[in-house]
Amino acid sequence: MTFSKSLAMGVAALVLSAGTALAQSTEIRIGVALEPPALDPTAGAAEAIDIVVYQNVFEGLTRIDQTGAVQPDLAESWAVSDDGLTYTFKLHDGVTFHDGSTFDADDVKFTFDRILADDSVNAQKALYAPISTVSVIDPLTVEMTLSRPDGLFLFNLGRGDAVIVAPESAETNATQPIGTGPFAFVQWNRGSRVMLERYEPYWGEKPALTKATYVFISDTATMTNALLAGDIDGTNNFAAEALPVFENNPQFKVLVGSTEGETILATNNKKSPFDNLKVRQAMAHALNRQEIIDGATYGYGVPIGTHFAPHHPYYLDLTDTYPFDPEAAKALLAEAGYPDGFSATLKLPPVAYARLSGQIIASEFAKVGIKLELINMEWAQWLEDVLTNKDFDLTIVSHVEPFDIGIYADPNYYFGYDNPEVQALNEQLNATIDDAERKTLAQKIETIIAKDAVNGYLFELAQTGVWNAKLEGMWQNAPIEGVVLRDIHWAE
């Protein structure tokens, strides 16, 4: 047939060109599951935005390093007043935006005024609410005053939400991001890829890579094929179920690290029967955490007993508060007035860990008499139903914000936990700067919410990266959302 002949000719042509597809030593192609809706990290919460631009295209006054510690970035140093209310930042000299304009204190003031403005669309506006004034002392000095001390202030300045933008480009950053980082935006082929290239006039140490391409591949099987075929050089977080393909393959390295994602069986504490402590305790006893971790994360998740990251120094191991014990669960349900159990819904967002955990938990709960109806939904609908309207019984979600135990002090938050003691402790925690004191306070809260079984505490999500074995310098852990290119390089 003519077809096979033309195919053979085509194939011959393709083999010839395949050689050039091999990665050059200063370029990288990274597979990412989700495409960002836009590229401005100060006007959207999607993790996908930070993965592409955080610390690559945009920089903040501070930055978070791979251990989760705060490092100076555009602010080379700072001084804090004794009452913890005034921060004076000394800015780096000679920094330019990718459009060539100079970075100075006015850009800092513009950035924060924009975050705090009434019509601000910043997703984390509340984090910066303590800032009462931002004043320009001279082109390289900025002073910020806070209305109350904030133990996490410097960390929050290092988030993607607080990267410094220029007034001239702020409006177009969504499609044409212009920052001060080591990589400049080149082009975005929607639905396909984003390309960055090294910004030669960069003020800091130059990265080894000259070009980075983020390729958007949502399907796990497709991502596996792309990695195997060498069409991409790595991905920062790969679906755990397919990891065995790469684990014993010398051409790849698998990096297993931690994230800030506490995965919980979030429970509507304001709704019957979940307003009953005994019911929540019964559910906690009915959860077989290890089975969930094995089934939903293929063993990569780390068990948690409270809402805190296990690798954090403040973490308290509370996994034995309500050990797996179906009999105890049944007894508690009977005490609570549900000897035959009850029925409830479980709303699941479109992520593998939630969908799998949901099926496993439904099976586990069925054994103690709790019948769960699984309802799968898209993120947008989940946000509307669960987060905004609090119209849910149970849901499974990973809270990926670092140090977010403060959500338990907000009685209007979606899971509706209202405990004045926790609220008081949290206020104290926010206003405390001393580390040892902060640790005591945080652990008190951890203990209370574990005992109250506010939510079902399942596991800390792992970050499982798969990379070409010759690549080095990738972050193993994810203390903050992003794929930082700064240190990545090809080994000789």
């Binding site: 047939m1 006007a43 669309v121 506006k125 639905g191 094929n225 792309a226 947008a380 946000l383």
Partner: protein, 317 residues
Amino acid sequence: MTLYIARRFLGFLATLLIAAAIIFVLLDLLPGDPARFILGINASDASVAALRTQMGLDAPALSRFLSWVWGVARGDFGLSSTQRAPVSELIWERMAVTLPLTLFAMVVSMLVGLPMGIIAAMRRGKAADTTLMVMAQTGVAVPNFWFGMLLTLIFAVGLRWLPTGGFTPWDEDAGAALRAMVLPGMALALPQAAILARVMRTALVDVAEQDFIRTARAKGLTRDQALWRHGVRNALLPVLTILGLQFAFLIAGTIIVENVFYLPGLGRLIFTAISERDLVLVRGATLVLVVVVSATMLLVDLGYALVDPRLRRESGR
């Protein structure tokens, strides 16, 4: 004829207007607040309200519909609420993948399917016929996304002849763009080729029993010669109908296959837009698909009327 064309064209416009209304009503009822989605789970209500106003979500539904239709008529599909870019531009970008992919798949399905059908018809009842028809029967039954995976494993992962997916824009590297079409195009084409083979065979077998073939044979042509010279041409009419329908089907079929090959086509645009509650974009992209499908149908009907005036009493589907 002119009257027929005018009537058919008016029907086409009416279809589009009603389709637009249906799409708008469905999407206007959508649950989910796009502003909330963009800002994520920790955003304050004030920020969300601010973004809602900025996106123009506060106006009444009817006025939003009318301004949408008026805009579309002038080629202005509005601004995507999540991507902050003109919808027409986004759709056009994706069409540069979806349309060539569809055409490529059509060409492949014809190159594979028609010869298969002709050979089967000429060797009717013999081993070749049986083999080809079993192949066609299987081809129809294999889900295209599944076949796509198989092709990737063999030609991209195993042999590394072709990329596993992705797309390089035409103006950047046309060769690479073409290579990116090969596997998805084949995956899409297989079931269609199988269908075409069956249609071609049936049509030819039908024709073979008709008088003019007998006459041709009486004039001394062999059965094959007669079939080839007279039969194939006459069998093309049903095949043409199928091709028109296939084009419409392939456009939709790309949505599934685009996922397997991470191609930035129209289907994935709609898909991500839906999960992100980008109403403006979903509306525009769905409408464009509807327009393309309807326009193809219109062309098939007009082409038919041109070929065979008897069929002007609407070839209903």
